[in-house]
């Protein structure tokens, strides 16, 4: 043994004369210069890196700042207080506009002409009678009584209250008549016009009237679509990854499949939309605008992402764990299910959630299968017509009304919130499932 060690030592230790560089070269002026240059290069690199991070942070702050600045006001809506006397005759006729108008006129006794009254009518949202109707439907005892209620104001009044119109501009350039401004100011002065939390934004479906439009329908549509996507792509993706990584022989066929999966992950999403249009709508005759079809298309799009992420996670499990399990007689399936898959789970979950987040934010393929339609009702099933959050944002961004601008930003904020929630869930799940070895 000692022989070995001595012989090894002799082989490794070089003779001092031949290889040790002359010490003077490490102490020379030229060396010191090079050393300074090396340190300077590192400082420059660090500075560049820090600058890049700062720039990215600045962009993010600018982006979020502008969205928040534009969208925050959408979470409030202007409402008008009215003393409504519900005439039983009107209730019987289901004429809810009349009692609202009477209550409004009562607040402006000086206005008697038709033109003046039309201005007053325009202060209320065209959806206000439906609000009242819903109220009475819930409590029929209200008929014949006088109630103090707050009803939604028209979107122009809403924008006026939020400062969307410049009062110093002449009437022709402002886009809002002096009469309406005066009427709104009178209501504001008496405290009959105020802002409250905008629940409509969260519960309602789409509408031509901004004050009645909400993302409720789009959120439900997104959820239904994601549900279909998840139910299809997660089990399929994980099963495919496990098979390819743990069981499939490595040959030309599996190589071909791998290359194709990687290519599929890079295919532009609109191509998947075209595929969905041709196959699901064209060939199978599935309904247009349905979350079912949207989910199918998204599942196709997410599948390669999940497979790739899962395979990476499975590859990262040390082979010693597989050997340990096989070595005591676990079958290959037991090895995978009991040991490999649990260890790969954090990575698989992260990949899955990232895939889901991508599907949630995707617009292009859904445009092709008709999910870009104007849909007022909140969908109740997988085959109901629906739209999704990003498509809703896209449609609102197209609308000319001022009030839609802030609602677009608000919807973006909500979408971002959901995405942050999803990514947060990924981080938390990772922490929970993570095991060290």
């Amino acid at each position: 043994m000692t022989d070995l060690v001595e012989r090894d030592a002799a082989a490794v230790t070089p003779s001092p004369a031949s290889t040790t560089p002359p010490k003077s070269r490490l102490r020379s002026e030229a060396f010191a210069r090079r050393l300074r240059a090396r340190h300077a290069a590192e400082r420059r690199f660090r500075l560049a890196g820090a600058a890049a991070v700062a720039l990215a942070a600045l962009m993010l702050v600018l982006l979020l700042g502008s969205i928040v600045a534009k969208g925050a006001s959408a979470f409030l809506e202007a409402r008008i207080r009215l003393e409504v006397t519900l005439d039983p005759a009107d209730v019987a006729d289901r004429n809810y506009a009349a009692p609202l108008r009477r209550a409004l006129y009562a607040q402006f006794p000086q206005v008697t002409d038709r033109a003046g009254r039309r201005v007053l009518n325009d202060l209320l949202s065209s959806g206000a009678p439906y609000e009242l109707e819903a109220m009475v439907a819930k409590n029929p005892a209200l008929a014949g009584t006088t109630q103090t209620i707050w009803v939604r104001a028209d979107d122009q009044i809403d924008q006026l209250v939020k400062g969307g119109y410049r009062r110093d501009l002449p009437e022709s350039e402002r886009g809002l008549s002096d009469a309406k401004v005066a009427a709104a100011d009178a209501l504001l002065a008496s405290g009959a016009l105020a802002q409250g939390f905008n629940t409509t934004l969260f519960t309602a479906g789409d509408s031509r009237e901004p004050e009645q439009a909400g993302i409720g329908g789009a959120i439900v549509g997104s959820l239904l679509t994601l549900l279909v996507t998840m139910a299809l792509s997660v089990p399929t993706g994980i099963a495919a990854a496990v098979y390819l990584e743990e069981f499939a022989p490595k040959n030309r066929w599996t190589d071909l499949i791998e290359v194709n999966i990687n290519n599929l992950a890079a295919v532009p999403s609109i191509i998947f939309g075209l595929l969905g249009l041709a196959v699901f709508l064209g060939f199978f005759g599935m309904p247009r605008s349905a979350p079912l079809v949207g989910g199918l298309v998204m599942a196709l799009m997410t599948l390669p992402v999940i497979i790739i992420a899962s395979r990476v996670a499975l590859k990262a499990v040390p082979p010693s764990i597989r050997q340990a399990a096989l070595g005591i007689g676990a079958s290959p399936l037991q090895t995978v299910l009991h040991h490999v898959l649990p260890l790969a789970m954090p990575g698989i979950l992260t990949g899955t959630i990232i895939g889901m987040a991508r599907a949630l934010g995707e617009t292009a393929p859904l445009l092709l299968i008709g999910m870009v339609a104007f849909i007022v009702d909140v969908p109740h099933g997988l085959t109901d017509s629906a739209t999704v959050l990003p498509v809703q944002i896209y449609m609102w961004a197209d609308s000319p009304e001022r009030a839609f601008t802030e609602r677009t930003s608000a919807a973006i904020l909500i979408l971002l919130g959901v995405l942050i929630l999803l990514n947060g869930a990924a981080v938390i799940l990772r922490k929970i499932f993570e095991r060290r070895w």
């Binding site: 043994m1 000692t2 022989d3 070995l4 012989r7 022989p249 490595k250 040390p318 010693s320 764990i321 597989r322 050997q323 340990a324 399990a325 096989l326 070595g327 005591i328 007689g329 676990a330 079958s331 037991q334 009991h338 040991h339 260890l343 095991r435 060290r436 070895w437």
Partner: protein, 276 residues
């Protein structure tokens, strides 16, 4: 110092006289003409070797000589390596382990394995040991499983150190303890043969001494094949030693003879440290 008589390092008087007589012990496993290819590369060239029951066979030889490959043929762990082809015949109790009648899963339960690097599952100590009995259905009920775990840990000489923390992860133990846990995990399935692939190479001398003592005790109940780079270790723990070189088995004899009186000059050269 050269290895003239490494047995002096740790004499085991009780074994010496019986060494020769023991040569008549029945063979637990036999290998005949075992040839292994990794793709086009030949790793083993027609190995003939007998593994006697209740004895420790040490496989020694320079790196890349095929001793680990041979070991992994014995419980068909090579099946999991892509492109690995095994020819020849390996029999366990006279039955061809590569035959159609033998299931690799059952074979690996009968021929357990301990690896070079301790590889406990990232689960509790208890789950590590009980995993094998559980998947093979060897224990009915909780009490029986508890007993199997306790016996296995005791046999592996680990019980005293872990009996109060069976719920802690196996990965929290020190390297030597982890390796003994892996041995406990292997013997919990009551295998007939235990294969050890350089079980001490990642351990410090004290942990190594622990494992070596353990191997000596386990010999009473199990047949053991151990691959080692440490010739003193081979001398200390084994009764028979086989010397591998470049994919061939050069010679296999009683350990004492191999180290004191090798027949082949390559063996002589290796154990005296002239090459390898």
């Amino acid at each position: 110092m050269s290895i003239q008589n490494p047995l002096k390092l740790r004499p085991r008087a009780e074994d010496r006289p019986g060494q020769r007589a023991g040569a008549a012990l029945p063979n637990k496993m036999t290998a005949r003409g075992v040839t292994v290819f990794y793709g086009a590369k030949q790793a083993l060239k027609g190995i003939d070797l007998d593994i006697q029951e209740n004895r420790v066979l040490a496989l020694i030889g320079p790196s890349g000589c095929g001793k680990s490959t041979f070991l992994r043929c014995l419980n068909r762990m090579n099946d999991t390596i892509e492109g690995c082809r095994v020819e020849g015949r390996i029999a366990l109790d006279g039955e061809d382990v590569y035959g159609k009648a033998v299931d690799a899963v059952q074979l690996r339960a009968r021929v357990g394995m301990v690896f070079q690097k301790p590889n406990p599952f990232p689960k509790s100590i208890y789950d590590n040991v009980s995993y094998g009995p559980r998947i093979h259905g060897l224990a009915s009920g909780r009490d029986e499983l508890d007993e199997v775990v306790q016996t296995s840990l005791k046999r592996a000489g680990l019980w005293g150190e872990v009996k109060d923390r069976l719920r802690e992860p196996g990965t929290s133990l020190s390297g030597g303890q982890q390796q003994r846990l892996c041995i406990a995990r292997a013997i919990a399935v009551s295998p007939e043969v235990i294969l050890m692939d350089e079980p001490c190479s990642a351990l410090d001398p004290i942990a190594t001494a622990h494992i070596e003592e353990l191997i000596d005790e386990l010999r009473a109940n199990y047949t053991i094949v151990i691959v080692t780079h440490n010739m003193q270790q081979a001398a200390r723990v084994s009764q028979r030693t086989a010397f591998f070189h470049l994919g061939e088995m050069v010679e296999c004899d009683d350990t004492e003879d191999i180290f004191t009186n090798p027949r082949d000059e390559r063996t002589q050269g290796y154990i005296t440290g002239r090459y390898g």
